[in-house]
Symmetry: C3
Subunit: 354 residues, 3 copies
């Protein structure tokens, strides 16, 4: 099956806190998966379809570490092997559901979509701030009724902050300031940087940092396709520079993390987190940033859901016009296309005819 | 038009009480039909589409025994013949809508879907308890947003009672007890039997019969594809057997009747009735059984609607795994496939190419 | 792209009062268009899709006479030319959105769908009563979830008034009285007339004119495909005739105007207006006619929405049966088919292969 998703990739499926002794159903790249934890706390991900009559295992129940199908009682262990069926002693040998590789790291549950043989946990990109004791994090996930590529476009070009998020994190200078883009083909990373000097401080940062005047503001994007997007954000009073020794304690740092996980061809799990190294115990700042960032994410969700309807209802083949601000997004698209092609190759040998 | 419905078959369209002097619209096997009774009480079924501009006749009105289209007044008699049109005296000779053969029997209105020439009321399978003075019946109909085949699967394998209907009619012994299956190819019947001895009595029977201890419990399924499903259910205190003379008055009998009528390719009219030969005048028992059985049917509806979304949204070609409990369902599928093939032959001569 | 819409035609897009300094999104013949007025009051219609990333310009904002895209700030003048982009000075020369020809006339905003070169405002059919000081008008627009052809059929055959609008504008005589139909191929007009003498006066006219007895009632339809439909309606006490000099002041005249504008293949903007030459300053008559005519339009909407579901869900190729009352509607269908064919020719030269 040809899809527009990169396969043989790790994706964020959930926050660790979402996976528990209660069954969680979530579709990742079009694949229906049921998540839960064993009694010892290990996260498990199994194909969410009973071998017998295709019932959703997520609509079932745990019996200890066994998952008992809610329709006819086919019973699976945490490896996906069926260990009991109704009305007979013998369990057919082929009775098993796919078990997905999962890794819990940086507060996320990562799941591997593709050939199990190629799954290497070392390939999972890191977002260490989220589970670090030295940072304070607020986070959430918003369902997006739009294809994931629209969210990639959105996040790779922050000039939209000026228009879509004016009054929140947008100021006129964001759209006015040119960017620099760098692509690390070897490691599969797109970098987009925008350094603004002596500019207005948006509400998002003014209220959370307490800075009263104008600021220097750096936005350093690091996107590791397909799933992990990092925005290294630095704000400081005008002129405050990092020291020669690397000390930057005069500035405020925010690590904005997005995990962009396709749900279906036209919907996306939009995970977002905001980690900070200041006012770390101030719960009013946490509440403000959680509320404010969620508002900003929902502004994007509204805009991208609208865009999805444009794409879905209007004639295809529309020729978009790109300018300098789009270099990061276009590089990301190229990398995603290459990942999709590579994932296809894995499934269809070069000698195959389609 | 090729469909997945058996044609040249009788289907339950409604309960007799649903068909009255008010027009009733119901789709049967994808065909839109309007039902009503003439002033003498005869049930009538006509194609629900005006010959003029396709308006739904069910959105119209009766004038005596004439059906007057609510859009432009084309007027039909109960044979489907147009007898009046607006603005002119002459009525075109071809102006008629299809009249469907209907039979009222055993409290149901049966309708023939297929070639009228082949319609023989003697072929209609019987469920005599429903209209018998010696039985007391409660009944209903639930709309199912799933293909009828899923309901056939469901009803032919009652081991699901243990998991989906636990606490109502399910106990662990249902799933544990093996079945015997018999297929009468000549008369087109699938029999599935499960006789349980010395087992727990589910709430459904404990409350309605008043039995306080363990029971012998027989489930004898008789399915006459495509539409009529009978579950001859017998419960009795442990060890109570029918007499040699056939007398079984020490046991309690319930005839559970389902009529499985396709509405569209992916939706079904799920008629259910429960007839009993005990506590026949006890209205609290009637109320309990009606409420309880409807709850059980809705548990099935919820599960099958979920299954329909699995089938509709996920890649086709999934290879289901079948075990002993499925022998009845698989036999039913084979018979339905044969009926579908036979119905197709009727419409497309053997020499035709498709 | 082949559609079932006549192209190279003027369509009513809105009432003049709907187009203001606030952006109005409306789809016409499947084309998404944003409407607004410049600060000098000129109506403007632009393609509702930003050249950059396809965002809906209607979800954006005006800055003086400039339209600033709400996503990344691409800025357009009222010619559709992009005059500013974010992050750089140079604006790509190809950056422009289509500007649609618009004309404000007879209280409507007309838009041209097709090749701009062929747009001639002189071709716009007139409905002068709507903006005349000598008539009083009530009007509205109802969204119709049905293809526009069903509304054309509906309006060209008023015998349906008897059945669908009985008690409002229908009486038995409408369906009983034959029509005369005339087709002006040269100017593209269908005329359908029904003159009724000594007939009951429907509520619609009894209450608004104050006539208490029976009436002569003329319905003279003039349809100019694709969009403009005029019903010249005359009611008078029985026997009151126009004078030899043309004076008809003993009668009451109502000009019922419909503009039939396709939104998508299966939905329509149903504009309706009722202009009268009597009780012109009586606001209770205005309120009565507005309420009553809207009720009648909504009766049509309900019926046509139902018809659309019949057409959408049932096998195609249904052979409708037509009678004398349909001659106007059939003539209209032929003209629309010719207009569609002509519009196609414009787009695809005869030598092209498809």
């Amino acid at each position: 099956m040809r899809t527009d998703f990169p396969r043989d990739q790790w994706y964020v499926a959930a926050y660790g806190g979402e996976v528990s002794r209660r069954l969680l159903a979530r579709k990742i790249c079009g694949e229906a998966i049921v998540f839960y934890r064993t009694s010892s706390g290990e996260p498990v991900a199994l194909a969410d379809r009973c071998v017998h009559r295709q019932y959703r295992l997520s609509a079932s129940a745990l019996d200890g570490d066994l998952l008992v199908c809610g329709y006819h009682g086919f019973t699976y262990d945490s490896e996906g092997t069926c260990v009991q069926v109704p009305g007979q002693r013998r369990v057919p040998r082929t009775a098993r559901v796919k078990k997905y590789p999962v890794v819990e790291q940086d507060s996320f549950i990562w799941v591997w979509i593709g050939d199990d043989d190629a799954a290497d946990p070392k390939d999972i990109p890191r977002a260490p701030w989220l589970a670090s004791n030295e940072w304070t994090t607020v986070c959430g996930m918003e369902p997006l009724a739009a294809r994931y590529g629209l969210l990639v476009d959105n996040l790779l070009d922050l000039s939209h902050e000026t228009y879509l998020h004016g009054g929140y994190i947008g100021t006129p200078e964001v759209a006015q300031t040119p960017i620099t883009t760098e692509v690390d083909e070897e490691h599969g990373i797109v970098f987009v940087s925008r350094h603004m000097e002596d500019v207005a401080c948006p509400t998002f940062y003014a209220k959370s940092t307490g800075i009263e005047g104008r600021i220097d503001r750096w936005q350093d994007i690091e996107y590791r396709p397909p799933c992990l997007y990092l925005l290294h954000s630095r704000v400081a009073p005008v002129g405050v520079q990092p020291g020669a020794d690397g000390d930057d304690s005069g500035a405020f740092h925010v690590e904005v993390v997005y995990a962009i996980t396709p749900e279906t061809e036209t919907s996306t799990h939009d995970f977002w987190a905001v980690a900070r190294d200041f006012a770390r115990d101030d719960e009013s700042v946490s509440a403000f940033l959680a509320e404010n960032n969620r508002t900003v994410v929902l502004q994007d969700v509204t805009a991208l859901n609208l865009l999805e309807t444009v794409i879905a209802t209007e004639p295809p083949g529309y020729q978009e016009l790109s300018i300098n601000i789009d270099t990061g997004g276009l590089a990301a698209r190229r990398m995603l296309a290459a990942q999709i092609a590579a994932g296809d190759t894995t499934r269809a040998p070069a000698t195959a005819t389609v």
